[in-house]
Amino acid sequence: MARFAMVIDLHKCVGCAACDIACKIENNLDADVHWSDHFTETRGSFPNVRYQYVPTLCNHCEDAPCVKVCPTKAMFKNGDGIVLHNADTCIGCRSCQLACPYNVIYFNEEQQHNMYRNDQPLMPGLTASGKEIADKAKAPIPNYNPDREKTYQGIRQKGIVEKCTFCDHRVKEGKQPACVEACPPEARIFGDLDDRKSKVNQLLGKHTSRQLLKSKGTRPKVFYIRDF
């Protein structure tokens, strides 16, 4: 029984988006689905300009509105403070999307990874097609990661939503989320708020921290320390 959270150290973050791509790879996401995402801000006027890059992801809120509004309890919180989604019981009503103030929930209007079902090669007889690649790989996408299947649909189906799960399938095995592992400066720190000695608690004790849209009252568990 834990209370998992993430601390993002903006001083260390260089805004490279390795986390975003590593997340896509881990979770078999389509190119425009950003469970790990970011926003950037440019303020001031030349030459007094400040740019910052802020990594974002599901905040696994302690008071998660997506969980509250879900009519089928497909959106639920597990015993470790992670907000998870059950693909089987989701009916795709999208109430969670409306309720979430952070826009971190994606809805699959189409079947994902169209590219690898396309059977039209760019140059017939000369280049491959996406479907040919997938067939040769014997996988829905060539770099399909079967680890994701351990706790969630490997590729979420058309007609339901999906979102970040704090890589619960990895966390279960004592591993770090993919975004945390991929970050070269180790700017993302994941851990248990209920563990006094955890790194997240050390950092929260040492630095002033901020949360996004705190006033919405969802009690997000992604904390930002220092400045980009």
Binding site: T40, P121, P146
Partner: protein, 849 residues
């Protein structure tokens, strides 16, 4: 009844079995094995070591391979240089190797007409047919006594390169191994060579440094040590002051203490002004540089100094430099030219010098690859000399030794035709009056890559009848791109070794599909980061899906075999004789064995305990297999101040007055029976007489007049560019906003909002950017991170070929975005031979569409 995906997913996760050939043709999942004893279901799969060459950091990485599929990428834990990390680029390798738009088979052109508007009408052919055609063409040249009319264009390589780039053309009889280096960064090496005696890129002691002054360098996004820099930058920022000179608010500038948004091309003014302040305020490092004999600082603005009053230590010519150049280059003077406030110039100069010797002046292509950038490169590197950070703790460093073998000598395999043919000068006009290309002091010592197009067009020094290019795309990556289109139309026979049908492939007669260098090829690189030099292996960790071959080894082997069949066995003899398996002495029987034996031979001192250099300079892996598994060989840590007594310059000192450059220029002048001043004029430099031997300010050289072309154009790199090859990756497109100011799925030209108001643009409109040599279309972005009066645009997009994502319409050859090289003129920093794509080399106008 067909299975829905939901049911299928449920089925596979419950059973944990690999499901093959389901009714309905759904693809089988390679599932994981479930250990019934514990709840730890684990995906089988092995982390395998290889090398990422997305940029020229060249990093050791590991790839998780499961059932023959590459699943994910991470750094190599055995790599000291990268702290076991990988940057964002490395992950995109996966989309490259599995790109549906990769070429599967060799292709032959059937439309004899060439041109951008002509469809090549490629048809698939067998490797045997392709190699046979190539060998026939080569034998034709030999039989006609014209082997020198063959060119091997080298693009992205490993250190197996001399097999195809050195041996193949030369044993055949052509001197023309033509590399891409001049479109890379040669001008950047010019600075350190003609001051420090070091023609190479530097490493940096970030751990100990107290000041980092970046000249267009953007280590958080691009070359040459991205994982190292990104890993430690937070700590560097805590310990050191970071100042970034860049026309754009780059990633590194955004995370720096000072941003100096220099007017493009005016970096030299800033550099000499820094030097002026440092000398005038007595802040130079006396122990290294030397001092006035009586200790009294005579460096006063506007006043010359007599040389006898100063005693040089490890440096040469400081007073000469002051008298010839620095004395008038005040911060006020520089402020007018650079757009940087005088007080910031003084503050940065003082801060930099105060941190001495732990102060790094970090050059980049941006500040060097300018028409008049050679002296800027010298000036920016000379700052390291002033503060004694050269080869010093907290400063700029060379690299530790990597005792790999060099390619075995192939000259013994020259027959009479080859002896004669290789005596011809190289075809790129290097060493001509207007192309000194003074690599390491030698006239014509360096390549002038981009000029090869003009050489082909003018048949000067001689016609070119055939070329093979590998992992290059000069039609896209060279400024004045249109000239390459024309040159390739003229070139009678062109073979392109490539993964994708790129712009250059469009003009090819034969296209050979290349193995991907991160997943499908044997090779190795040598590089350095974090004071560690390393060798890293490229390993074929995947069985290729398509009929591809390794560019640097399998393909030349096949050509050599065919040439032998046709009566010319020398190249095959060389490959067979000189690259036996070091462990068994076996002679290679085919291209794959050759690839492995060659790699073993070239890396032998690193892994073979019988070799005298084994273990002496770094790691001692337990044999070949151990090295392959670890993937990387790390050197011992670089020792400081090794070179202070013999820098390698003419005086063996760090030269502020470059006797080394003086000698090189004089030799070049004598060769052409002219004066040094005439050389400088031919090279578009304004300096004359002794000023030519010291770092000095040169006014930027720009194409286009201000009235007709009111904006100064500059370009920059992307942290997502795998050189020119990643725009076809959807991850590139969907994360393009990770480059400050840029947008997803777009290729924007960034202008300051003030200019937007003047032009009546609000952002997002389609515009045309017109230069004196070309025009492109793209969307405009209003962004405060660029100076009013400038247009900043990233390189890497504007492909009209390459693939279905990189191009907007592949069949109609409509580009996504605009290729900067269409509007950039083909100009050069001629003293180094480098292409000049920076420094605001062209002015442009903006038209609303």
């Amino acid at each position: 009844m067909s299975l829905t995906r939901r049911d299928f997913m449920k089925l596979s996760s419950i059973s944990g079995l690999a499901v093959v050939g389901l009714h309905g043709g759904l693809p089988a999942l390679s599932a994981f094995a479930q250990d019934p004893k514990s709840n730890r279901a684990s995906a089988l799969g092995k982390w395998m070591a290889t090398t990422c060459q997305g940029c020229t950091s060249w990093c050791p990485v590991q790839v998780l391979v499961l059932n023959g599929r590459a699943i994910k990428v991470r750094g190599n834990e055995h790599a000291h240089a990268t702290h076991g990390t990988a940057c964002v680029r490395a992950h995109m390798g996966i989309q490259q190797v599995y790109d549906p738009d990769r070429i599967k088979v060799p292709m032959k052109r059937t439309n004899p007409k060439k041109g951008k508007a002509e469809d090549p009408d490629f048809v698939p052919i067998s490797w045997d047919e392709a190699i046979n055609m190539i060998a026939d063409k080569m034998m034709e040249l030999r039989n006609n006594g014209e082997p020198e009319q063959f060119v091997l264009f080298r693009g992205r390589y490993t250190y197996m390169r001399d097999i195809i780039y050195g041996a193949l053309p030369k044993v055949f009889g052509s001197p023309n191994g033509i590399s891409h280096s001049a479109i890379c960064a040669e001008a950047e090496k010019f600075g350190p060579y003609y001051t420090e005696g070091f023609w190479n890129y530097r490493d940096y002691d970030l751990e100990k440094t107290r000041y980092v002054l970046c000249w267009g360098a953007d280590p958080l996004a691009s070359n040459r040590q991205v994982p190292h820099a990104t890993s430690v930058w937070g700590e560097v920022r805590d310990r050191a002051t970071i100042a970034v000179v860049d026309p754009r608010l780059s990633s590194t500038a955004a995370k720096a203490h000072e941003w100096l948004p220099v007017i493009p091309g005016e970096d030299g003014a800033l550099a000499v002004a820094f030097a002026h302040v440092i000398l005038r305020e007595g802040l130079w490092n006396k122990a290294f540089v030397g001092d006035f004999v009586d200790g009294e600082n005579r460096f006063k603005a506007g006043e010359t100094v007599s040389p006898e009053t100063f005693q040089d230590k490890y440096t040469h010519g400081l007073v000469g430099w002051w008298n010839l150049e620095l004395k008038d280059k005040t911060s006020e003077w520089a402020a007018e030219r650079t757009g940087i406030p005088a007080e910031q110039i003084v503050r940065v100069a003082r801060g930099f010098a105060d941190a001495a010797p732990k102060a790094i002046s970090w050059l980049s292509p941006g500040s060097s690859m300018q028409v008049r950038g050679g002296y800027t490169a010298m000036a920016t590197h000379a700052l390291n000399g002033l503060v004694s950070s050269v080869d010093n703790e907290g400063g700029t460093l060379r690299a530790a030794k990597i005792p790999a073998n060099s390619t075995p000598d192939f000259e013994p395999y020259y027959d009479e035709i080859a002896k004669k043919g290789t005596k011809n000068k190289k075809m790129d006009q290097r060493g001509y009056l207007q192309f000194p290309a003074l690599n390491a002091g030698k006239s014509g010592g360096g390549v002038v890559t981009n000029n090869a197009a003009d050489a082909i067009l003018s048949d000067d020094p001689y016609p070119i009848k055939m070329a093979i290019g590998y992992w290059n795309n000069f039609v896209f990556s060279c400024s004045g791109a249109e000239r390459w289109e024309k040159a390739l139309v003229k070139l009678p026979f062109f073979v392109h070794i490539t993964t994708h049908a790129s712009e250059m492939s469009h003009f090819a007669d034969i296209v050979l599909p290349a193995a991907h260098h991160m997943f499908e090829k044997y090779g190795f690189i040598k590089s350095k980061q974090n004071m560690v030099a390393y060798a890293s292996l490229n390993v074929p960790i995947l069985k290729p899906m398509w009929d591809v071959k390794m560019d640097e080894t399998e393909i030349p082997w096949m050509i050599a075999e065919k040439l032998a069949e046709k009566g010319f066995p020398n190249l095959l003899d060389y490959y067979k004789t000189e690259f036996k398996d070091p462990e068994t002495g076996k002679i290679a029987a085919n291209g794959m064995e050759f690839s492995i034996f060659a790699l073993k031979h070239l890396t032998q001192p690193l892994w073979d305990s019988r070799h005298e250099n084994y273990g002496k300079y770094g790691d001692a892996p337990k044999g070949w297999q151990d090295l392959v598994e670890k993937g990387v060989w790390n050197s011992n840590k670089y020792p400081y101040r090794k070179n202070w007594d013999k820098f390698g310059t003419k005086t063996n000192k760090f030269e502020f007055y470059s006797e080394t450059l003086k000698e090189a220029l004089e030799k070049h002048a004598v060769k052409h029976k002219v004066s040094v001043n005439e050389v400088l004029e031919a090279c578009k430099y304004t300096a004359r007489d002794e000023l030519a031997f010291v770092p000095h300010y040169e006014e930027p050289y720009r194409w286009g007049n201000e009235k007709e072309y009111p904006f100064v154009f500059f370009e920059h790199r992307s942290r997502l560019n795998r050189e020119g090859r990643s725009a076809n990756c959807t991850w590139y497109q969907s994360h393009k906003d990770a480059d400050p100011g840029d947008e997803r799925w777009d290729d924007v030209a960034k202008i300051n909002p003030a200019d937007g108001r003047t032009l009546g643009l609000h952002g997002g409109e389609r515009i045309r950017i017109v230069s004196p040599v070309g025009k492109i279309e793209c969307h405009v972005k209003l962004w405060e991170g660029v100076r009013p009066g400038t247009v900043g645009k990233c390189f890497g997009q504007g492909h009209w070929s390459y693939g279905s994502v990189a191009a907007l319409d592949f069949k109609k050859r409509i580009p996504r975005g605009g290729n900067n090289n269409v509007i950039l003129p083909a100009d050069y920093e001629r003293l180094s031979g480098s292409t000049a794509r920076h420094g605001g080399v062209t002015r442009v106008k903006i038209e609303k569409l």
